[in-house]
Subunit: 460 residues, 2 copies
């Protein structure tokens, strides 16, 4: 990465203006708004913000950026968590938010083609009458393009997979402005190199996703819930492991640790037992869900589960899951005005209880008060450490704790991020994790983006 | 691809001998045996066959091949179908068959680490007592390394996914002899570029897989079967589509067309109704399987299914599925001494009936007698055209029919191969399918293998 990223801003700006007219913005407010995501990384505003309406727009913009060797950064909803969109070397931010058309729904084939700027909830609304749904749910109302670019996943990944498993095809703009189509609408293919999966999770550093074809699923006839507290995280993980081995097709399995439960009790006036608690969701038919709930209840009993409760009516389900839904609000309410250093790791499930226990011990030793929530079936958990803006010592303490959390996860055969991605925040950890593969990643980056214009300073 | 692939064979041979001793073979019989797979492509023997015992062996061999710029081709069980292993430019074949250790089974994490030469049935035997299984089943008793390298899938892909979804990590040797580890044992990761999936299905042209970590599943408590004939393939596909939309978790859904049923009746003395027939397998608990069978039966009725029959006992299941299991033997028995030109395409399921009908019409018009079998839930089907060795006219007719079959599949939004891969046989089709992405594939190949020593003449 050369330190000098200067380019002829006036020349580029004029040429872009010819293409985009008033869809090119230089306003400080708009630039600032596009200069950060939801992470603690400080704003780094792009020089220009270009609003694209089509794949052709994106291709034209990137071609001009290539001509001027100017950085180009794709922007969806700005909900990333590791500084993915911050324009640390300036350049052009391409806002894809206006590319929000749901283009084609194929109900028989159970797929949908969307522009990259379509948001998750918008898609869900659009599909409501089809009996189908797109299940990947990272929490935030992100754009589908952003979700693909970061390789997002979430609470339903256990059952339905992450973005990696649910993108069938994509249209991309490469660093030279070429438009490529990757994948097909066929359910599987062994035709040539899997470039589609190389692009998913590449965080805009190899190309910009402009359109996606996504896999859909039938909406379950019944969605039912369950909640169960356990004496220890280890007992919970053992119960979850047996449930998975028994092929109980759970749709969601969410962990909240004692501190998370305590906080939400205080915040929302609940009286959940302060213990590691598992929140479950079952999808299926009335018969299969009843069978699954019964089977899970027996497993929970075997591992000392404390009063497994199950519910099927929407109202009862909402009540059961309320603690989980309020978790983030509870955490925020106890940390007004603070920045949240949000992080995640993912480990083999046999190491999950130990990993969480080690993290809790480390936090205690360093006076960090941070709850743990996680997708226990995937071995993935999150924590948010709250830091007063400007308190550098506290930030350093928090970053040290994250570093140790990641290093322990790597030593256990895990990964430095299960779903948030690398962005700016985890570049050093990526090197620790993929020592032998980093050269290969750099080779591919250099081959596809020789001038390093695509979201420079991110991932590698 | 330069026409001149000459290299100093004696020099390379001497250096390899120092490393491998009598694990280097120059015998014509052994070279011939390693010069072809199960396809109709003529033998192209490598100059040398090297038997590797370890990843380090492979690294040393590849380093020497890189030094001499000699082609290097990985060989597993030789069960590929598109000329993947044929040494069309000579060079060194690395036989990985002796790397057949199942290294570690993690029952809690439901994964297993194997050397690349472990075969599918061997792994199945090894796992028998664990209550877990590895479900990807391409039919042949291939090596797991070969299955990963070709992106194999098969009858159970509908439920469990293809190799793409079931490899968690791999150790690879790259073109310069470097050893890299890709992926982790964590169930998901968004850490950096997904090089693992770039390698799966790259057919030994970007690197050689030497070790794999695979995802395992709990063995179902009950495996039950069903069979149902339909008036038309369209009716069958409609029933299958509704079953998938209804989230009936079918493990296998296999189609045999009328000709396939007729042949197997003649061969095995069966009296199945000569009609498009669907073979089903259900995995689950006694309650869930009974529910699934009942639901599927109702759907079959709705689409004119003729007498859906279901069975749970191993003996009854075997009887129901006998026609499917005998299909290949039946076809072979009617074509003694002929070469089978085996091919597959995959289309969106809404196009499957039309695609099969068009193919049947084309075959009829060209006097080709070839049955169709397929994984109907994936939109993937296979056909084998039998050709007398030396009958060039018949081979040309067959290849013309395959070309039209592929082109129709591409026009329908499908892919030129669902599971067999590109090898030598489908390189031109790959270009038709991925016009815009071919440059990108070539860029990556050139970046990772600048001297084009890794399985040259395959894929691109």
């Amino acid at each position: 990465m050369p330190a000098d990223r200067s380019f002829d801003l006036d020349g580029l700006s004029n040429e872009l203006r010819n293409v985009l007219g008033d869809r090119l913005s230089t306003s400080q407010a708009i630039r600032d708004q596009h200069g950060q995501d939801e992470s603690f990384h400080p704003i780094a505003a792009p020089d220009l913000v270009a609003f694209a309406n089509s794949t052709d727009d994106v291709a034209k913009i990137v071609k001009l950026c290539a001509k001027y060797k100017a950085p180009v950064i794709a922007f969806g909803a700005g909900t990333a968590l590791e500084g993915h969109v911050n324009a640390i070397y300036g350049g052009v931010c391409i806002d894809l938010g206006q590319m929000d058309a749901v283009m084609e729904v194929h109900t028989e084939d159970m797929d949908v083609s969307v522009q990259a700027g379509v948001r998750r909830r918008q898609l869900d609304e659009h599909l409501r009458d089809t009996g189908l749904h797109f299940p990947v749910d990272p929490g935030a109302d992100a754009t589908l393009g952003g979700m693909a670019a970061t390789g997002a996943s979430g609470t339903t990944t256990l059952r339905y997979g992450a973005m990696q498993q649910n993108v069938l095809a994509a249209t991309m703009v490469l660093a030279n402005g070429d438009i490529v189509k990757l994948g097909t609408r066929a359910r599987k293919s062994s035709a040539g190199y899997d470039l589609l999966h190389l692009m998913i999770g590449s965080e805009g550093t190899l190309g910009i996703i402009t359109e996606l074809t996504l896999r859909l699923y039938g909406r379950p006839e019944v969605e039912a819930s369950g909640v169960c507290a356990f004496d220890t995280v280890q007992n919970m993980v053992d119960a979850v492991t047996l449930a998975i081995q028994s092929e109980i097709p759970l749709a969601r399995m969410e962990l909240m640790d004692e501190l998370a439960i305590y906080a939400v009790n205080m915040y929302a006036g609940l009286n959940n037992e302060v213990a590691p608690t598992l929140f479950l969701e079952f999808h299926g038919t009335p018969a299969s869900v009843a069978d699954d709930q019964k089977r899970f209840g027996e497993i929970a009993d075997e591992f000392g589960g404390k009063g497994f409760r199950a519910a099927s009516s929407p109202q009862e389900r909402k009540k059961l899951w309320r603690a989980r839904h309020e978790a983030l609000y509870a955490a925020k309410s106890f940390n007004p005005g603070k920045n949240g250093l949000i992080t995640d790791v993912c480990v083999p499930i046999s190491k999950l209880a130990q990993s969480i226990a080690d993290t809790r011990k480390d936090f205690d030793e360093h006076g960090i008060l941070a709850a743990v929530v996680g997708h226990v079936g995937d071995g993935n958990y999150h924590t948010t450490i709250w830091v007063e803006p400007g308190d550098d010592a506290a930030l350093k303490t928090a970053q040290g704790a994250v570093k140790r959390m990641v290093e322990r996860a790597l030593a256990m055969g895990g990964t430095c991020t299960g779903e948030h991605g690398i962005g700016m925040g985890k570049r050093l950890f990526l090197q620790e994790e993929h020592q032998s593969a980093m050269t290969m990643m750099r080779t591919i980056k250099l081959a596809l983006d020789p001038d390093n214009i695509m979201n420079p300073g991110k991932v590698i």
